[in-house]
Symmetry: C2
Subunit: 393 residues, 2 copies
Amino acid sequence: MAIRFAQRMDVVKASTIREILKLAASPDIISFGGGMPAPELFPIQEMKEVSLKVLDEDGQKALQYAPTDGFLPLREKIVKRLNRVGIKGISAGNILLTSGSQQGLDFSGKIFLDPGDAVVLEKPSYLGAINAFKAYECKFIDIPMDDEGMIMEELEAVLKNNENVKFIYVIPDFQNPTGKTWSVERRKQLVHMACKYDTIIVEDNPYYELRYEGEIPPAIKAFDTEGRVVFLGTFSKTLSPGLRMGWICASEEILNKYNLIKQGSDLQVNSMTQREINTYLEMYNLDERIEMLKGVYKKRRDLMVEEMKKNFPPEVKIYVPQGGLFVWLEFPENVNTLDLFKKALEKNVAFVPGDPFYPNEGGQNTCRLSFSSMTEDKIVEGIGRLAAAIKEM
Amino acid sequence: MAIRFAQRMDVVKASTIREILKLAASPDIISFGGGMPAPELFPIQEMKEVSLKVLDEDGQKALQYAPTDGFLPLREKIVKRLNRVGIKGISAGNILLTSGSQQGLDFSGKIFLDPGDAVVLEKPSYLGAINAFKAYECKFIDIPMDDEGMIMEELEAVLKNNENVKFIYVIPDFQNPTGKTWSVERRKQLVHMACKYDTIIVEDNPYYELRYEGEIPPAIKAFDTEGRVVFLGTFSKTLSPGLRMGWICASEEILNKYNLIKQGSDLQVNSMTQREINTYLEMYNLDERIEMLKGVYKKRRDLMVEEMKKNFPPEVKIYVPQGGLFVWLEFPENVNTLDLFKKALEKNVAFVPGDPFYPNEGGQNTCRLSFSSMTEDKIVEGIGRLAAAIKEM
């Protein structure tokens, strides 16, 4: 019996990261693989208080079906947080709650992409987004980056010659996987390009609040005068990824489509979790929590980079991010990081080879390491093991 | 600026039920619209105990990312519950947790349907499923039913002549919207047909545990010898719909595809909720809870039917279900229930007109009423108001 699946299933593949996480599940392994928040910093006591309060005060509503767009007081609080990165003139009517920002990525594909359409994205880009879009049978056009973001001349050449570019997908702050951040000027230019060539921008911004130096720049959506930018946000990195709570901010016309898709996909996000997060934001100070996280993560980043500089050969180029969760490495062209990964696993240390972040080709000599979820002694030990693996190559 | 959405967005429409629920949100309105569980019966106290226990004992894991397939102990418990309806030879490896069974419907479309493919389904069928499948640009072939399920001769005629039928979608117990239940014999025949014509069955079974008389029959999947049946289940009707927890049970080959799609769609369901429901099942007796629910719902069903018989003209055909949440009405051909709906709203009572449950045509003289979420005095009052509206037509 040969089951006849849809054509899209020919291209949908398992996430390399999730597969690697499985390999790296042994407690002996020091894993710099997944972009996981530090579990010892989760607000467990606060969540207990919050759960009790929600069930005591609104238990019936917290356990019942609820409207698709999400709990109004939470959406209003999200609006205020977005105002702080320059996204003005929006209301709760511009916000839809989603099951993490991953669901916002999937919905973006579902709403905009017909088979054969193109997505323009950074080279390299986030693997989870590539996989989500791929299910809609699109092609990818990846644009090289410098230290300020996509190179605009390259982008313009692509937009000029491709009528079926449905959107430009970017992660402007501490990009996954490279850790790079777009300059303000380049953000403005990107919006200008989208207007000039009549396309949409999907701005995926899960990390901007985790900035370890300098000022948070305005979001790309802050420069959106024509309602062309869809902003995806999340509580995964600031509060908890297990709660699966993200949001989409878009113009009413566009958000209405996301809302229709949310209805058909899973009706709504968890009613109890919506209220728990809302109550958390009322009872506690998320900004103070973020300050605490930044203190810990900054130390881990600094230590990881320091250990790399001390132990790696000088040919390994280290990209130091201003925030977020990832350090990006570039090896000489002849090094294949998939081989290095296998050798590293033998030494009980894991990372993510760069290749899957390139939807077309390239990146065999790159890799991504997350510093967020490993304690300082494990960072020292793990980078030491990795240095030994590199030496053996 | 004209935004270029994907072609599927031309056919994706708002759910009539969700739109009606918005109209019926006023507290003066007695709504028999949505299939909502009775909120006064939710296990609020138990959920408080369960949340505390999960956060105390496994807080770090409950708030962290987790594997896509779901928490193993919960999947093992689901296996045991499915064994009781005759689904044998399965393990936790055959279960994937989803965001309600609505997500299982969406994924079924995503995995099996290319544009132009056909879904065979009951006439009428569940609106939420029709909307979910529609996003994959399929066509619908609806098969008439008698009191035992789909009429097999009609089904066979369709399967014989349509090579692009990717799956047959059925709700065998207390079907939404008609409340009808498939006989055991017809279940066997359906599996036989799927084998003979090499297709898949998607068995959507959210209500079977809410049976008010007689024995629970084996699931259709109980007769599945070739791994052709995908079973969708949920805790929405027995525990809480706000928690958004459903599951898919399928052969490993098929489930692997659902798993890939789950990864790209939203990574996983809420880690905390998975553990809360697992702990609920360990600390409390879900079967006792279901007995309690059945007692209340049976009374409400009986009362609603009694009031209908007393107050409605004899031309209105009443379908009395053996379980579930819905009573189905058939009016004489010349009655349009959308007109009746408008008149009923003026009298502050709401229901769902039947028309949207027919993906092709028909049903203008039918409607669905839910008896689960309204107290007995409201049922009496609401059916009285509806009888008055009918009289005026």
